[in-house]
Symmetry: C2
Subunit: 386 residues, 2 copies
Amino acid sequence: MKPDAATVVSAPAAGPAGLGDEILAKARRTMAESGLDVLVAMSPENLAYISGAAPPSQRTVRSRHAAAVVPQDGATEVITVALEAPLVQSQSRLDSVTAYEEFVEDPIEVIASSLNERGLADARVGIETTYLSVADHETLTRALPRARLRPIDELLSTMRMVKTRSEIEAIRAIGAAADRIATECVAQVHAGDTERDLANLITERYLEAGGDQFTMLVVGSGPRSAHPNAPATSRTMEPGDVVRLDLIGTSRHYYSDVARTAIVGEPAGEPARIYDLLMSVHERLLAALRPGASSSAVFAIYADAMTEAGLPAYHFVGHGLGVTLHEEPFISAATAVELQEDMVLCIEPLTMLADRFGVQIEDEILITADGCEPFTRAGGLLTIPA
Amino acid sequence: MKPDAATVVSAPAAGPAGLGDEILAKARRTMAESGLDVLVAMSPENLAYISGAAPPSQRTVRSRHAAAVVPQDGATEVITVALEAPLVQSQSRLDSVTAYEEFVEDPIEVIASSLNERGLADARVGIETTYLSVADHETLTRALPRARLRPIDELLSTMRMVKTRSEIEAIRAIGAAADRIATECVAQVHAGDTERDLANLITERYLEAGGDQFTMLVVGSGPRSAHPNAPATSRTMEPGDVVRLDLIGTSRHYYSDVARTAIVGEPAGEPARIYDLLMSVHERLLAALRPGASSSAVFAIYADAMTEAGLPAYHFVGHGLGVTLHEEPFISAATAVELQEDMVLCIEPLTMLADRFGVQIEDEILITADGCEPFTRAGGLLTIPA
């Protein structure tokens, strides 16, 4: 745990074909097309995407930088803080793990040394300019004065937009589990139970199903169902309450994002009418999904239906899903992306009536050669026994 | 939820004296000393510190930037994404909340517009260069070509190192709760229960006690007690196992960080001997804490004791605690900070015997005028009934 200097912890056995190989091959094709000699991925999402590693305290202690280094030719490497190197070693699909000592070594200088030692001091180096801070960029420029630093943010975003086979299976597995868990747990609580009772039940099942953790678990009842991103509280669920759930978490770094709406007691009145309306919009949205469809045209189906019904619309109705919760393509008025085969999208028609209730349906969908295939599938309004 | 342009949502009533007033007054004194006209805080920790607001998806969806704008003269403002503006409004202590529309407006340009409208286009603007990305820095520079952008990272870090009265009470309250919860929950599980059973119990109590959530809850039993930052798994706790707990979470943005070690069955053998040794080191560490003490001299007490005992030492034995988990001052060999009154520190002697077990004691301590005052206090090795 206290190496005197950056240390190669060990080299793993060559991994089996699968997720890692698919992504590395794709990364190197993309690098070749873009004229990059080496790629340095430092954001938690791109580190996980490229290497399979997620040092647990990277997000909490921001100075504990980590990086995946992928040269066009030669061995790949993860650089991480020494205290988490054994865990990163067990997660990483890359050739080696290099550990640096916190407080003693600057991780940016350790990255620069790695490139220098590889003979890449004057190389074309891809960096994430929407993640790397100004201060770290200065350190890197000072340590590699001849390197040609180039932004790779869009390149990585575009690469990640279309999923590989193994990614599709990873997202499908945890998404389908989230769908099943939401339905089952709603049937196991009753009027008088709290939002937190329901959240605890869902959390337990999600971990049992292979979830790493919830990034954001929404359980909002009554007027709180109209709050975006509302965590569970001690509020008790009462007859007539709308309860909105959104299961946002990860399994092996891939996100689930499935939202369901329930009512306490028998479905009736305005919430039931709005739910049925959203469900019919949802069906029309799914019917429009296919390669070549434009994201803004899909959004218009939702926006127009909400305008016609006199209900408030959200500013998007879908988004890509992968190692981040929200990624390209966004299904919004402001974006016009052509859908492609093997994109994985969340489609989520919703309406929030402030101080009253919110209704949301969110399913995960794979774009196929001639249409789409849902990983999850909302049915009618769920009910919690009164 | 769909403003056509950046919109002032509303201005809150003037807040009562307390946390917000203390911090704003301190920020403006610091700005005056440093010759800054306006401060723009964008990292989640400094946004929360300055404004009291924490937009829930800021960490998950990185492009949803938020900022606290504090001019030396004039009204203060939080800028946040429209969909979370109502929540931010309910949290913020600043004068107004400005919402921007995702996909349509660039939050960096909204910040620049705010400064322009305030007549601060050529001002000395404090920014966080260890947080602001290269790409966003370019946007800001383009939008405010005459502004003099200056790094305020160290200035904010130094400001936050010494806590105000209200901060001390906030940290004390959730820290004391974490201490009590760890002790009580350990007494309620038994051999044969899983790490996750214990974690679920702790999580429930932590939320009841006013915790927002756990950022990282460590429950590692047997050999897993030696893994740093190990989340709970389905491993059952067996007689003789060491179980290491670390309760890392927040309440109203302030962290708790309390670690305890338990054994399943009667304390005996090497774990008990090592625990007693660490406890005696812990007492000597606490006795050394006072204004003027050097952090590296305090670290030497721990490092020397571990060397003498032939046990592996960690690379630090303490750190500041506040709106981040790890902040200045660090108690390590590599740092030499003089302790000051009203710093809040975690002191955490630990030793990790890889593949065998790990033992850790971590308490939260306030530096007082003539020594220190523990917020939490470890006793003997905790026991889980066999």
